[in-house]
Symmetry: C2
């Protein structure tokens, strides 16, 4: 049992993964978490393409500008949608997956596919579908900071009461 609030506030995106494989049960729970995310009008637009084969990951790594680490992640999940848009629902599903993973000590990071057609080919998506985001999952290797030296703003700077 891992507390939901603690999981949420301690989650940090990371691209440094140990090679320890994820159990089938952990993978199933990550995917189930994505499946259970709510969506606009219950349209359920997201599909998940799961990559564990190294060669397939290497193909996909060529499609993003910051995707070179993809082959080093034991588990890759591409969230695909039909057509443009729907990024809000993708974000909900992605966060569900990343929190379910972090609850089991599995870290993660989303990465964009800048070349959409490249990613569509690598994943074998039908015409008109696209990989809205790709998430790498793995146990944490060494502490890594992706903060770019930018501190998280204090809560007061995020929040306005009643009016901006």
């Amino acid at each position: 049992m891992t507390d939901v609030y603690k999981t949420i506030v301690t989650k940090r995106d990371s691209r440094a993964y140990s090679q320890k494989p994820l159990s089938q049960e952990t993978v199933r729970r990550i995917l189930q978490a994505g499946r259970m995310a709510g969506s606009s009008k219950n349209s359920q637009p997201c599909r998940f393409v799961v990559l564990q084969d190294r060669e397939r990951k290497e193909e996909l790594a060529k499609c993003g500008q910051f995707a070179a680490h993809i082959p080093s992640a034991p588990l890759i999940v591409a969230i695909t949608v039909p057509g443009a848009g729907q990024a809000f629902d993708v974000g909900r599903a992605a966060q569900n997956m990343m929190l379910a993973a972090w609850g089991e000590g599995v870290t993660s990071c989303p990465v964009a596919m800048h070349d959409e057609e490249c990613a569509r080919q690598a994943l074998g998506l039908p015409e008109g579908h696209r990989a809205a985001i790709v998430i790498g999952f793995g146990y944490a290797e060494t502490p890594e900071s992706l903060s770019r030296g930018i501190t998280r703003l204090p809560l007061d700077e995020f929040v306005h009461h009643e009016h901006w």
Copy 2:
């Protein structure tokens, strides 16, 4: 302590809220959960406008096509971003907030603001900023289904292995 996986898979969007107010500590945890969501290049684009005043909620309710329930939610949080896009990061922050809330028994539902300028005025946002999503929070009143009669697809229909 509420288990993260259980919280994720039992969360259902709902717009039927009891009038029981949320404690300041619960509100703080919801906002802190949103603050701690990761964002692209750590750009932290989201800001949160918190509404608890009935008159302000009524103003905002006029700005969305399915937003009539907004005044009935004890807590409203508008997630705002500068400019267009960034919906993926908004989805991550929104899901963090809704899961932190559900971990304390507080249900929620995101609602879109179809009239962006109306929402910008109601929230007093600076020029160029927009309310990407508005979330209603409250303790569950009566069971309510927003599924539109659409069953959640089985996991097999969400998932493709190695290739679509």
